[in-house]
Symmetry: C3
Subunit: 152 residues, 3 copies
C-alpha cells in the first residue's frame, strides 16, 4: 500500500475543498487536470478545467457562503502509480444569505486522479449521484453573527 | 506505529458507513465479524452479524435517507497485530421524508476490530453512548430537490 | 514525508476535539503547550494553556452540548521534525438546550504544533477567521431524545 501517494491524494482533495469554500479560484484551478471531467449531480456537467473554474467563479460569489466537507476516503493507487481512484462522502451546505435560503445535501464522490511527471497529483475526473439535496428558507430567527463575505 | 493497519481499519469503517447509507446490505455485512456485538445508544443492542444486518435491512428502507459521517479516528493496533481498538466521532442525520421528520445527532464510537487469517479486518464490537440525539419536524418550506430513494 | 508524525498530529487534534466535546478538561489541557496561543474568531483570544482551559471549563458547562468536527487536514512537518503546521476545516454546532438556542458555524483552523523531548506533540498555536457563524432559536418542535448532560 503506497501510503505516501494516498496521503498526497487526500491533501489534494482537501486543498480542492478549502480553495473552493474560500473562493481562491487560481489555487482551485491548480487542483484540476486541464481536461478534467466533472459531473456534480444530474444538472451540472463540465468538460475541462477552464469550464469548471469559470462556472465556480461566476456562480459562487460573495452572496453565497459554501461549506463542502468530504469524509471517508477509500483510495486505490493504480499499478504503476500514475493514476488512482477514490470515493469520498460529501456533506455540503450553501447559505444564500442575501436571499435567505439554505441548501443542504450529502452524497458520495467518485474520483479519478492523475500524477504528472513532477510527481504532483491532480483531479482528472470527479462526480457524484446525489444521496439527497434539499432547499429551505433560512429558519425563523436565523441570524449570521460572522460572515467572511459580508463586506465584499 | 503500523500505518498500513491503521489505514486499512479506516477504510473498513468508511466502507461500513458508505454501504450503510447506500443500503448495500451484503457489502455492509462483510464489514462485520460473524459474532459482532453492537450497542447503538441505550435502545439498540445486537448480538451477531445476522441480527445487526437483519435489523438494518428491515428498518432502513427507502423511506429513510440516512447520513452517517465518522470523524477523528484514534486507532491503536494490539501488540501482535491481530486486533485493534478505535474511537471515532459520529454525526448522523436521518430524513424520514414520507413522514416529514428529521433526526440529528452526534456521539463517539468505541470499536474493536479483528484481523482474519487472510489479513482482512472486520468490526468485532461497535457502540456508543449518545452525546445528543434530537427529533424535529422537517423545517417549514423544506423541499427535497434530489433524493436517491424517491422512486424505489 | 514523515507519515508517522502526520498521523500523530492528526491524533492529537482528534483527542483535543474529543476531550473538548466530552468536557474532559484535564485531558484537554494535556493537548496544549503551556504557552499555547489561541484565537477563536475575532472575539476570543487567549494566551497560555491555563487561560484557555479555565475559559472552556467555565463557559462549556452541562447546559451546552457542543459538537466540534474537524476535517481536511493539510499538515507540514518542519525540517528537523520538532515543529509542524496544519490547516483543518471545522464545522461546529452548539445546542444551548436550556435556553433553546443553537449556534452553527464553519471555518478553517491554522495551527502550529511542537514536539517535546519525549516525542509527544502538543498544540502551540491555534486559531481561525470565521467562514460563518449563525445563531437561531431551536426549531419549532425540536426535541432532544438523548442528551449526555441532561442529569448533570
Amino acid at each position: 500500500m503506497d501510503l505516501v501517494a494516498i496521503e498526497e491524494i487526500k491533501r489534494l482533495k482537501h486543498r480542492y475543498l478549502r480553495t473552493l469554500d474560500l473562493k481562491r479560484w487560481d489555487e482551485f484551478a491548480d487542483c484540476l487536470e486541464p481536461d478534467c471531467q466533472a459531473e456534480y449531480g444530474e444538472r451540472l456537467s463540465f468538460s475541462g478545467r477552464d469550464d469548471i473554474v469559470a462556472y465556480m467563479r461566476k456562480s459562487l460569489g460573495p452572496e453565497l457562503i459554501t461549506m463542502h466537507h468530504c469524509h471517508h476516503p477509500e483510495i486505490d493507487i493504480d499499478p504503476g502509480g500514475h493514476g488512482a481512484s477514490g470515493t469520498w462522502a460529501l456533506e455540503d451546505k450553501v447559505i444564500l444569505w442575501k436571499d435567505r435560503l439554505m441548501i443542504t445535501g450529502a452524497t458520495f464522490y467518485e474520483d479519478r486522479y492523475r500524477r504528472d511527471a513532477s510527481g504532483a497529483w491532480r483531479i482528472a475526473r470527479t462526480g457524484y449521484v446525489r444521496l439527497f439535496e434539499a432547499m429551505q428558507p433560512l429558519p425563523e430567527g436565523f441570524r449570521l453573527t460572522a460572515n467572511r463575505w459580508a463586506d465584499t
